[in-house]
């Protein structure tokens, strides 16, 4: 194998295929469960039965008298058996299964003439022999192609899934990276100056930045993050922006009406709330000549069954494409994926400015425990 891959172009004969034909790839049960969807088609069954029936009819007059019905019956029975084996191969295409099937079919086919001769039908068997041999060859070839085809199909699907997973992971990492550079270097510019001039604002800003980085850098390693933790990230982000923008930004986080255990026990895809807040800053506060206010709030909605998170700004509003901020569609997808489509997210004009909200279904006590464990 190693030598093969070291010289991919060198023509080589794989001798194992001569005594033990079939695909090399062995699929695990987990892989089959993932990629094995799309079951066996009924159409194939119908097609095979029809063909057998028509073939027997075509050769009717060449058959020795009186055995036509018996031949038809045994041909249909053989077709049914080989289709059952085909489905078995389809479910788990492997070299082992294919060779067991081939050997069994060969043995059975060898027994038939022996049995017939012993029962005294030597001349009848002589006439039927080509039919039997041809049928066997046809069945074995079909199984062989079926096993190879199915094996390659599964391999292709698995590769596609792996690629897709890699792309999603890459997109998440990129989304994280998109947050960083502009924000980071602008913050560093302020920090640099305040350190140079021994300004008292330098210390707190550095502390907020450290807290923010410590929380956000490993953020995308988790599938979920408790709301309480996300709120802390949002607060340190707003602390930093406050230090940078000075009087242009005021902000408040209002979560008093929600019990602390709900905030700690409910988890969202990481960065969800942060993305909305960043959006409010980038599209609501920064483009505004006079700055503005960002209000983050959490509340229970619909009789306590839903957690509603809101980010409100009083900037220029939705007219200038504030809706399609970077990462918003990404956030929407992740919310939908992690809540089986239940969570809602929206963005609307709010008098002055823009209101972005998320509604997340609160878990029942059992599943809540489960998500805590996770």
């Amino acid at each position: 194998m190693n030598r093969l891959s070291a010289m991919p172009d060198a023509p080589r004969i794989d001798w194992t295929q001569w005594i033990f034909p079939g695909p090399r790839r062995v699929f695990s049960e987990a892989e089959l469960a993932r990629a094995g969807g799309g079951g066996w088609s009924r159409g194939v069954d119908c097609y095979v039965y029809t063909n057998v029936f028509v073939l027997v009819l075509v050769f009717y007059k060449f058959l020795p008298g009186g055995v036509a019905t018996a031949v038809l019956m045994s041909a249909l029975a053989a077709a049914a058996a080989s289709l059952a084996v085909a489905r078995w191969l389809w479910r788990h295409p492997s070299r082992k299964r294919f060779n067991i099937a081939s050997l069994t079919a060969g043995t059975v086919s060898a027994c038939v003439p022996a049995l017939m001769v012993q029962m005294g039908h030597r001349s009848l068997m002589h006439d039927l022999m080509p039919l039997l041999a041809g049928g066997l060859a046809l069945v074995l070839t079909s199984w062989w192609f079926l096993t190879l085809y199915r094996s390659q199909q599964l391999e292709g699907r698995l590769r596609e899934m792996a690629d897709q997973q890699q792309r999603v992971a890459m997109a998440q990492r990129l989304a994280a990276a998109q947050i960083q550079p502009h924000f980071l270097f602008n913050t560093l510019a302020s920090l640099q100056h305040w350190v140079d001039t021994q300004d008292a604002r330098g210390g707190p800003l550095l502390r907020s930045l450290t807290r923010y980085l410590r929380a956000t850098l490993p953020m995308f390693e988790h599938d979920r993050l408790p709301v309480a933790q996300e709120l802390q990230i949002v607060s340190s982000y707003l602390d930093i922006m406050q230090a940078r923008l000075g009087a242009r930004l005021t902000w408040a986080v209002q979560v008093d009406t929600v019990p602390a255990e709900v905030l700690a026990g409910t988890s969202l895809p990481p960065g969800t709330l942060l993305t909305l807040v960043e959006n409010a800053i980038t599209h609501g506060i920064e483009p505004s000549l006079r700055g503005g206010h960002v209000a983050v709030s959490a509340s229970l909605a619909d009789g306590g069954g839903w957690l509603r998170l809101e980010v409100r700004d009083n900037g220029p509003g939705l007219t200038s494409g504030a809706c399609d901020g970077v990462g918003l569609s990404n956030t929407r997808e992740r919310l939908a994926a992690q809540s089986a489509g239940a969570a809602q997210m929206g963005m609307e004009s709010a008098g002055p400015g823009c209101l972005a909200w998320i509604e997340w279904p609160l878990a029942t006590p059992q599943t809540q425990n489960h998500s805590n464990l996770a």
Binding site: N186, A189, S190, H193, E286, L289
Partner: protein, 266 residues
């Protein structure tokens, strides 16, 4: 560094702005900072008021972006040198050929700034040595080719301007922008002269400018913006003075020296 230029610094955040100013103070003590602005609107207005020879423009600013200010500056009769400042290098600027446009990364590093100042000095020396009769010097250090690129990087034209709302007693009059002959700023108010009369609004002209379509509404003076469709003639009175006559109004409007290039004839 022996640069003795008047300089403007525009950045919407105090920290980076002060950091750049401090670095300039260290490296080019003879450079005189005449204005520090916290947004693009003020930067453009101060450029008209102070006529600095050098502008450091942050790219991301409220009102007008640094790129938009630079584009406006390039249309002036004597555009200043422009250096862009940005927090992250992957921005639009990487689209320019190396050296076509000066830019600094925040936080500004002394070595990089020094290099930038040396290049400015070399370019200004070259400009000073060029006799007046030779071809026009590149606009603010920006060649026509880079300006074209700049234009492509600018956000697409703004949405149609909303009607202007002018309060008069208890009434609020709505004035369609296309009916406006000209805007004139007067201390804290802006005078709006339109087809059916005139009104006063509280929005400062420099802020109104951002919403106006620059192809239709021409700024001809720091305090005057005219609807080009109503201009009937521009008259040169002497070497430095020019004025505009309008269709439908007997008022004459001044064209400041910086904007006289708008009326060159074809």
């Amino acid at each position: 560094m022996t640069l003795t230029l008047t300089t403007l610094i525009a950045d919407d955040e105090e920290g980076p702005r002060e950091q750049l100013r401090a670095a300039l103070g260290r490296l080019a003590p003879r450079l005189r900072v005449v204005a520090q602005c916290a947004n693009g609107v003020d930067a453009w207005d101060e450029c008209l008021a102070q006529e600095p020879q050098l502008c450091f423009l942050d790219i991301r600013m409220p009102g007008l972006s640094g790129l938009e200010v630079a584009q406006r500056l390039s249309q002036l009769a004597e555009p200043p040198q422009v250096v862009f400042v940005t927090a992250y290098g992957d921005h639009a600027l990487s689209a320019f050929d190396a050296g076509a446009v000066d830019y600094l990364l925040k936080p500004v590093e002394d070595q990089r700034l020094e290099h930038c100042l040396q290049r400015l000095q070399a370019r200004l020396g070259l400009l000073a040595a060029t006799p007046a009769a030779s071809p026009a010097p590149p606009l603010g250090g920006l060649t026509p080719a880079t300006l074209d690129l700049l234009r492509q990087l600018l956000p697409p034209a703004r949405a149609a301007m909303r009607p202007i709302q002018a309060s008069q007693g208890r009434d609020v009059h709505l004035i369609a922008p296309e009916d406006v002959l000209f805007f004139q700023s007067d201390s804290r108010y802006t005078r709006v002269v339109h087809r059916d009369g005139e009104a006063w609004i509280r929005t400062a002209l420099k802020e109104l400018l951002v919403e106006l379509d620059p192809d239709v509404f021409w700024q001809v003076h720091r305090s005057v913006v005219v609807n080009s469709r109503f201009i009937s003639a521009a008259t040169r009175l002497d070497e430095n003075t020019m004025q505009i006559s309008l269709k439908g109004s007997s008022e004459k409007l001044p064209v400041s020296r910086q904007f006289q290039g708008l009326f060159r004839g074809q």
